[in-house]
Amino acid sequence: MSTQDSPDSHGVYDWSWFTKGAAQLFSLPALILVSAFIGFGGLAREAGISLWQLIFMVPSIWALPSHLILVAGIAAGVPLLAIIPAVALAAVRMLPMTMAFIPEVRMPRSKTWHLLLISNMIAITAWMHTLQKAPAIPRNGRLPFFVGFAGILMVATTCAAALVHQLAASFPGYVMAALYFLTPIYFATSSWNTSRVPAEKLALVLGFCMGPLFFMVVPQANILFAGVIGGFAAFGFHKFANRRGSD
């Protein structure tokens, strides 16, 4: 850890954190994500997705909401040109997520194309878990930790989805429901713990309440609306609270 501030460590990643990230396969978030993809494997099979198509789509898309929209679209016979905007709209959250993430893991001399490459591994679970662990990891170990963790997640979730697809495992309905239910609870509790300023907790509550409200008005873009409006409102609160605090 003493290398954290030594001048020669700038721009050089400490790849020993890669294995520590990969070892996080045995963690609660990894277990939950693998469970979610067990559900997805069954869903994809029902939609008529072949095994190799499934193995291809899990890491190449790497965002569960995008997976779900694609597979539901294929099952319903939706044309490509209608699937693209639906996925793009649901994936806009990747933009602020990436912008919040990169400053936490980059080094002063990180190359942009390296960051572009690793940004493809950003999805809620690995993003959240890395942000949560980041304060305890020296800066030069954060990107390797993330790559190790997200990489092992990609392998594990692809294997889990493929296995369920092959076994055609038909778990009882309540087991599948319980598996699906892990994801929202994990996302909620983990974002609460990851937040740095009170405004982020407010953003969590606002986004949660506004999502279903906007679903009644703009069902295709409710997540985008709730995120942008809820996020700006929470930021407004942050500015207001800071101004009052500094008086």
């Binding site: 609660l28 912008m99 493809n120 429901a177 974002s191 995120g227």
Partner: protein, 115 residues
Amino acid sequence: MYFDSFDTALWPYVFILLGASLPTAIWRWIGVVLVGNIDDGSQWLVLVRCVSTALVAAVIAQLIFEPSGALASFPFYLRISAALIGFAAFLAMGRRLFIGILFGELALLGGYAMM
């Protein structure tokens, strides 16, 4: 163009890439480019964190209010109350993820068993 429009082995993979991989990845790439010159302590990053948190929260709400698959067959009041019970337990007992999940799942399956 549809998923089964072309009878070639390659088309479904092109469809997956164009339909979902690219429209997802493009936002990550724009994010990397936009954040390039922003100072790490900038107020912009607080705004960005607020928006990303609210977006994730809206995804959470979607998973509970409009779930896909087996969870959709559970009544709405059961889903929302189980989620709230799990989150309340998480807040009340030391903010441990495990507690939130345990209580949420127990409430969901317990409620289902009583139906």
